[in-house]
């Protein structure tokens, strides 16, 4: 049941909630956020992109690009690398790399090329300490890097480091660089450490403190740390007022940085990190180079950003849209012509290219280096877009039937042989019928009418919807009842910094989903709902054993 207090909080949420505070739950769309919704306080390691974005926004792209982010690979956790950031530990070896990156960055910030516009003061002398100037720089930059103001004691400590280093090396800027390096290797920089405080509006509950909320907002929407204005709002306590929070949220949502943030989210959700090591056999696919694959990733991200943020179109239509972007490198693979650079492009109505599933990115990433794989494609379709888990093959699986399928012309024939074994058929039914519908695209995503001379039968079925052609799969996917829920699930996990809990978050997620549907599946509206919700800023108590590293022994 909802408490009257949370009714007040929740009813205020959203731009069109009913005016009357009582009785809202009777209205189907205008239902209230569950009273107990809240998320866990997390300690997240910065991801490599967050690290780079931080350095770019504070010190400039040239300095950021000169270092590789010293961040270890994350374990994909419940579909997202970003959720792995809540559990990953940093080894000693990695810390030495963090220190090296810190030293490189700090060295450049104070060099002759950068110091005049990155350091807000000039020292009295180049060869001695200058506490005032060091203090000014360290307090301003430290606040941006650590995403909250430095305490006086902390600042004094850093100034002490700078002064000592300056006098030892007889160089003011050396001193400053060493103090900056100390900030860049501190755990408060490398980890996004959230902290909770008592919620004065709800007795017995906790909420994120101002600065934790500011970081959560900006890393979610921008994949970058809070800027000065957001930190000022946090400092003034505005983020815990309705108006103040809305003002900041609307500012973040209308910023150009939103595209960077949403791009990072979809890059993660679609597991595009695969492209970092993806390659195709050059004998079988001579036209598919590393550049082609990079462009394939970029094409899909451009399509998503344009569709969701520029056109503000229905999320589901990403699976049926023929609009995309084309580059010369990709045009060869798509068998079309285009001009220089990236240009908007629309596939013909009779083309087999319809929606994200027919993009080279999806098709090539979910194939073998030398051939297509209906199973991998079906698995990816379910896991990435519908948040379903396809089980691993059993260890004692008998592959002998497959050996006899060596000379089958098509994947369908091969898999039919495979699926004559009931222990295989169960799982392959989950993936293959929809994967086989994509067989008109080879292992690199290039269109083909036939495979080994055999005509391809691409009729299939997705969870009870039968179809005959690729357009049918696209529509079945667009209308799949889990499609919106999955996006909500992943965005919520991404935004709150860790995997969802089916036990605690189910009602909250379903509430967000209802609103997403009511808002005609518009991403901006969903983002706004998410960040303005109680769930986003209120802390729910941790269940024993819940927040332990799920990957650990």
């Amino acid at each position: 049941m909802y408490t009257s207090h949370s009714k007040i909080r929740s009813a205020l949420i959203g731009s069109f909630c009913c005016v009357a505070l009582l009785g809202c739950e009777q209205q189907s769309v205008e239902s209230l956020e569950p009273a107990d919704s809240g998320s866990l306080v997390r300690t997240r390691l910065l991801t490599d992109t967050q690290y780079s974005n931080t350095i770019t926004h504070i010190f400039g792209a040239d300095i950021s690009e000169s270092v590789l982010p010293p961040i270890p690979p994350m374990e994909r956790t419940d579909g997202l690398l970003a959720s792995g950031a809540a559990f990953v530990g940093v080894t000693s070896d990695q810390i030495s790399q963090i220190q090296l990156a810190a030293a490189r960055i700090a060295e450049q910030v104070v060099d002759q090329e950068h110091r005049d516009f990155l350091i807000p003061c000039r020292p009295e002398s180049l060869t001695t300490a200058d506490s005032a100037c060091a203090g000014l720089f360290l307090s301003e930059t430290g606040r941006l890097l650590l995403r909250r103001p430095l305490t006086e004691a902390h600042l004094a400590e850093l100034v002490d480091v700078a002064d000592y280093a300056a006098s030892e090396t007889e160089d003011f800027y050396n001193g400053l660089a060493l103090a900056l390096e100390a900030i860049l290797i501190s755990p408060e920089f490398v980890f996004i450490l959230e902290t909770a405080e008592a919620d004065p509006e709800q007795a017995g509950r906790e909420r994120l403190d101002n600065y934790s909320l500011a970081s959560r907002l900006s890393f979610f929407l921008w994949n970058s740390p809070p800027d000065d204005a957001l930190l000022v709002a946090a400092e003034n306590g505005e983020l815990h007022t309705r108006d103040g929070l809305e003002r900041q949220v609307d500012r973040l949502l209308s910023s150009d940085r939103l595209q960077d943030g949403i791009r990072s989210f979809f890059d993660d959700m679609l597991a595009f990190d695969e492209f970092d090591s993806l390659a195709k056999d050059p004998i079988v696919y001579p036209m598919v180079t590393g550049t082609t694959l990079e462009h394939a990733r970029e094409q899909t991200l451009r399509t998503i950003i344009d569709h969701l943020l520029v056109q503000e179109a229905d999320y589901r239509d990403l699976f049926t849209t023929r609009k995309t972007f084309m580059s010369m490198q990709l045009a060869t693979v798509y068998g079309t012509a285009t001009g220089e650079g990236w240009v908007p492009f629309e596939f013909d109505d009779d083309s087999q290219r319809i929606g994200l599933l027919t993009h080279v990115s999806f098709l090539a990433a979910n194939s073998h280096p030398v051939r297509s794989s209906p199973t991998l494609r079906g698995k990816a379709l379910r896991e990435r877009f519908l948040c379903q888990k396809v089980p691993d093959p059993p260890p004692n699986v008998d592959f002998s039937a497959l050996e006899e399928a060596e000379h089958a012309a098509t994947a369908r024939e091969r898999l039919e042989v495979h699926n004559s074994n009931p222990s295989c058929a169960g799982c392959h039914l989950i993936t293959d019928p929809m994967g086989l519908s994509l067989e008109n695209f080879d292992g690199a995503g290039i269109f083909r009418q036939t495979e080994n001379g055999a005509v391809l039968d691409i009729a299939g079925e997705l969870d009870g919807i039968f179809y005959d052609d690729i357009g049918g799969l696209a529509s079945a996917m667009r209308d799949h009842p889990k499609l919106s829920a999955c996006l909500v699930n992943r965005l919520y996990a991404y935004g709150t910094g860790g995997p969802v809990s089916l036990r605690y978050d189910r009602d909250t997620l379903s509430w967000f989903e209802d609103r997403f549907v009511a808002e005609n599946h518009r991403l901006r509206a969903l983002l706004r709902d998410l960040v303005l919700s109680q769930a986003f800023s209120s802390v729910r108590p941790i269940d024993s054993g819940e927040n332990v590293n799920i990957a650990a022994n």
Binding site: T91, I95, A182, F399
Partner: protein, 444 residues
């Protein structure tokens, strides 16, 4: 205040011009066994690992004879030039007990950590190289180094804990820069000038540590562990700064190479082989220059996706889908992949043997532990999982032997290795993998 006194201490030291500090790092040298260089300097002991994917074709991999002078069946024929430097271990088992048999996962996890994982996400608590690095790694710039020939940063069998991977170097150029970039101190340089910035860097580190300690109070138990781990890393940095202030001992085999060109991504066997050799050359030069004493080379992942030009099945797919040829009695393409792996193992061992050190070579002072993820990959078998070792660990290990494990735990080799490296452990491994029995046949 602690910070200030530390800083004053360092300040005094620096002004006094004494740069080679008598810091505790010298203690760690005492842990090293080994013979000596010509000038009497002890030669350090090294520990390495090597890994290949997807096991073997038993009928053409396992020699008929055991002991010395064993025959080399066709799948391991490439090992002929290095046979005297290695031991081959067959008929050792990996036990899953009540854990599931996680395809291509349980095998390597047990051999590297001693524990059968419960889920695929479940990582070993701590891998053997990390345990050994605590013993051997304190005197070098890198406690340990890991590199992969796959070009994929996710490919590592080195874990500090369930959630903390030692990410491998995957790009030859990046690896080179990390090893021989501006922080490299050439042990054979005629002059040694400690960088005064390192001294102050140490002092700054104290400030970081003190500030960071306050954070621990603010986080939950699981996150506190992660912060603790971070502090351990910061302490390790301090150790490294100390090393930078100390003149390194000369190393006769240390010759800094030219920077390599980077390679494209991809898993074509020829490309993987090229990458493996570039990474091996860099890694072993790092060892010869005493930049690390613990090193992991990763030739192929457990689900090895190496491809054979013109053949439509990558290695892993081939192991399952290729028929056992009735006449040959094995899977020819799958075996082709394993043979390529054995060529690379031979390259690796030979490369170690080519570094002169004292009166012998690097292998005389090293022990290399080589493992895979399955025995017969087609059916995901982990019984009879093959292993290799190379090197004599300072004359304490006999080589050139084929050892039949008679079904005993594969963890015996890891246990033996850790004992050889000076770890004071009574046993190693969990449940049925637990062993306190060294492989005595190889010990001198």
């Amino acid at each position: 205040m602690k910070t200030l006194s530390r800083r004053r201490f360092l300040k005094g030291t620096l002004h006094g011009g004494v740069v080679t500090l008598g810091l505790p790092l010298l203690d760690v040298f005492l842990n090293d066994n080994g013979t000596a260089f010509a000038d009497g300097t002890p030669i350090p002991t090294r520990f390495g690992t090597w890994s290949w994917g997807l096991g073997m074709s038993e009928s053409i991999f396992v020699p008929k004879a055991t002991g010395a002078g064993f025959d080399l069946p066709e799948e391991i024929a490439a090992l002929a030039p290095v046979q005297d430097h290695i031991n081959l271990y067959t008929n050792f088992h990996v036990f899953k007990d009540d854990a599931p048999n996680l395809c291509h996962h349980s095998g390597w996890v047990v051999l590297r950590s001693g524990i059968a994982p419960m889920t695929r996400e479940n990582r070993p608590g701590e891998t053997i190289d990390v345990a050994v690095a605590r013993q051997l790694g304190n005197a070098t710039r890198f406690r340990s180094l890991s590199a992969t020939a796959t070009g994929d940063v996710r490919d590592s069998f080195s874990y500090e804990g369930g959630n903390s991977v030692n990410a491998p170097e995957w790009s030859p150029l990046r690896f080179y820069q990390r090893l021989f970039g501006e922080d490299f101190q050439d042990p054979n340089a005629e002059t040694f000038t400690p960088d005064p910035k390192v001294m102050v860097r140490k002092s700054a580190l104290t400030a970081v540590q003190e500030q960071a300690t306050k954070l621990e109070k603010e986080v939950g138990a699981a996150d506190r562990e992660r912060l603790d781990q971070y502090f351990t890393g910061l302490r390790d940095l301090e150790r490294r700064f100390d090393l930078q202030l100390t003149k390194p001992d000369p190393r006769e085999a240390c010759v800094v190479l030219d920077a390599p060109l980077d390679l494209p991504t991809g898993l074509d066997a020829d490309l993987v082989s090229k990458r493996h050799r570039m990474m091996t050359d860099l890694m072993l030069m790092a060892v010869a220059c005493d930049q690390t004493r613990v090193f992991n080379m990763f030739y192929a992942s457990a689900f090895s996706a190496t491809t054979k030009p013109g053949y439509d099945k990558p290695h892993h797919t081939a192991t399952h889908e290729e028929a056992v040829d009735a006449e040959l009695g094995y899977q020819p393409n799958t075996s082709w992949y394993t043979r390529r792996a054995m060529e690379e193992w031979a390259y690796y061992v030979n490369a170690l043997a080519s570094f002169k050190e004292g009166d012998g070579n690097l292998l005389d002072n090293a022990f290399i532990y080589a493992t895979t993820d399955q025995s017969f990959a087609k059916i995901h078998a982990i019984d009879g999982i093959p292993m290799f070792s190379a090197g004599t660990a300072g004359g304490r290990v006999k080589t050139g032997l084929h050892i039949d494990g008679a079904g005993s735990p594969g963890c015996r080799l890891g246990f033996t290795a850790q004992r050889l490296m000076g770890l004071d452990i009574e046993s190693w491994g969990d449940k049925s993998n637990n062993t306190s029995s060294e492989i005595g046949e190889i010990l001198v």
